[in-house]
């Protein structure tokens, strides 16, 4: 007896089961049959010998046949009672001219609807993948659009920075010009003050000279005063002498009196001159004092120096401010340039979506192929009369996936396919792509540019 559709281990288990069951049933039937033989042997022999005139040999033959029939019938009866068939419950697995009919029924009743039900579920998966593609495409498109908006802002910023930078350079130049102008102004003021100092000194000196010269007139006035005093004294003496001379001296007395009057007038004039000299001296001194009081040269110089220092500080501060502004603008400008580079690289990285889309399309293609294969198997089951007569004409799934392999559009897909086959033991190392991808290749025979 042989078994079909079983693996070696299952086959051995079935054999053991069959042996155990057949022995149990044989014992269960053999014991009662033996007892029956012992009990009815005498009656059976007498019956056949007396009624049918059988000899001992014929009686033994008939008895043996009866025992075998009884034993076999008992076996089948017990097997049917305990194991639901006449062959110890392994009838389905015993090679039989029509063995697959029950299996076919099971396949058509259970497996076929299951295989057919794959279609809508396959469609769910495919729709999900289409949805993923659509979503990623929309997202990538939106990202690209937003990147363009960001770029527009960056361009605005760059333009602003350029304008501000030019303005800042202009301001710095203007500031430098103002500082220079201030320096020139301060120099002018310094020379003006120096001139004023010099003039003031000269004024003081000429005033002193004038005072001195005026004072020197006083000695002359004194001399005239003494001469006038002597003249007056002489005139008095002459008048006395004229009086002594009598009438002879009367004319002389008139002269002496006139001389005395002259000397008195001279003295009065000298006094006026003296007063005038004093007044002129005081006037010059007063004017000189006023001029000195008005000048405040040192204060002016100090103020001017302070003012100059302040202007210098202001100019430096302004220059530092302009430099700082320039540095900030340069930093913004370089950051903006880096942003522009990053923007371009990010734009380039959006290519991932196209790659993902194509990979998903190939996965969908693979699912379609599996589905098509499954439906082919279902068709075979549906139209099969029985296993023995079935001669399945079906393309192996491997062929479908080899065909899918040939439609791949990138080495990544081929590598994943080959690695998966390697893992499942269906090595396809011959299908591995070249190890290193040459990303950019310019063909040597470039078409010539038309003149």
């Amino acid at each position: 007896m042989s078994f079909k559709h079983t693996t070696p281990s299952a086959h051995s288990a079935q054999r053991r089961q069959f042996v155990v069951r057949s022995r149990l049933v044989s014992i269960a039937v053999g014991v009662p049959v033996t007892l029956l033989v012992v009990l009815v042997h005498e009656s059976f022999t007498t019956l056949l010998a007396s009624w049918l005139s059988f000899g001992p040999l014929a009686i033994d033959l008939v008895g043996t046949v009866c025992i075998l029939i009884l034993f076999t019938a008992g076996q089948r009866l017990l097997s049917s009672i305990f194991f639901h068939d006449a062959h110890f419950g392994v009838q389905e697995r015993i090679e039989d001219p029509r063995p697959s009919c029950p299996a076919n029924k099971i396949c058509k009743r259970v497996a076929l609807p299951e295989l057919r039900s794959i279609v809508p579920f396959k469609q769910i998966l495919i729709d999900q993948l289409h949805s993923v593609t659509e979503q990623t495409e929309k997202a990538a498109f939106a990202i690209t659009t937003r990147l363009q908006s960001i770029d527009a802002v960056a361009i605005d910023l760059q333009q602003f920075v350029s304008a501000a930078s030019a303005e800042s350079s202009g301001s710095a130049a203007e500031s430098e010009a103002k500082v220079s102008a201030n320096r020139v102004l301060i120099k002018h003021m310094e020379s003006f003050i120096q001139k004023r100092i010099n003039e003031s000194a000269e004024d003081a000196k000429s005033n002193a000279d004038a005072i001195e010269k005026t004072q020197s007139l006083k000695s002359l006035v004194e001399l005239i005063r003494r001469v006038a005093g002597q003249t007056n004294l002489l005139a008095l003496n002459a008048a006395i002498e004229a009086a002594r001379a009598g009438d002879a001296g009367r004319g002389f007395a008139v002269v002496a009196d006139e001389v005395r009057k002259l000397s008195q007038e001279t003295e009065a004039a000298v006094k006026k001159i003296d007063d005038g000299i004093l007044a002129v001296t005081q006037l010059i001194e007063n004017r000189c004092q006023d001029k000195i009081a008005d000048s405040h040269i040192d204060e002016e110089r100090q103020t001017l120096e302070n003012f100059s220092a302040q202007l210098g500080t202001l100019g430096n501060s302004y220059e530092q401010l302009a430099q700082r502004e320039q540095k900030i603008l340069e930093h913004i400008s370089s950051t903006n340039a880096r942003l522009a580079e990053m923007f371009i690289e990010t734009l380039a990285s959006v290519q991932f979506q196209d790659i993902t889309r194509q990979q998903i399309m190939q996965v969908i293609e693979g699912i379609e192929r599996i589905d098509s294969h499954t439906q082919s198997v279902a068709g075979i089951i549906q139209h099969a009369e029985d296993c023995a007569s079935t001669n399945p004409n079906i393309t192996p799934l491997k062929d479908a996936f080899d065909a899918l392999f040939s439609t791949y559009v990138m080495d990544e897909q081929r590598d994943v396919h080959a690695r998966a086959l390697d893992r499942t033991g269906k090595s396809a190392s011959s299908k591995r792509s070249a190890a290193k991808i040459n990303k950019i290749e310019l063909f040597q025979t470039l078409p010539e540019i038309s003149p």
Partner: protein
């Protein structure tokens, strides 16, 4: 500045690559498939370079450039492929059809722009 025709069935690729080219100063003519591109060629659009995808619905990139090379005005225009495919056999097929070079996606902006500079004279 030079004008570049970009042919790709992916709207995202068209937008992103044309932005990169635009920022680099190129004028870009876009076509969402080979048929649209051929329509523009037949209308006499003037270009300095054609960049095309390989796998597209309808006419593929190699079929497109075979048609382009038949047009006298575009017999000598440089043609670059920008595609996910990297099989040598396909490259050779493209080369035989008149392609000037091949760039595998994803390419960085530098890779793309440097290659363009090499093929545009």
């Amino acid at each position: 500045m030079s004008t570049i025709m970009l042919v790709d069935d992916s709207a995202t690729i068209l937008l992103s690559i044309s932005s990169i080219l635009g920022k680099a100063g190129y004028t870009v003519e876009k076509a969402a498939n080979a048929e649209i591109a051929l329509g523009k060629f037949n209308a006499g659009v003037k270009i300095n370079l054609l960049i095309t995808d390989l796998n597209m619905p309808g006419m593929n990139g190699i079929e497109l450039i075979k048609e382009v090379r038949k047009l006298p005005a575009y017999k000598f225009v440089p043609i670059l492929f920008l595609t996910t495919e990297s099989q040598q056999a396909r490259k050779m097929e493209a080369k035989a059809a008149g392609a000037s070079g091949w760039i595998v996606k994803p390419a960085t902006a530098d890779e793309l722009l440097n290659t363009i500079k090499l093929v545009i004279k």
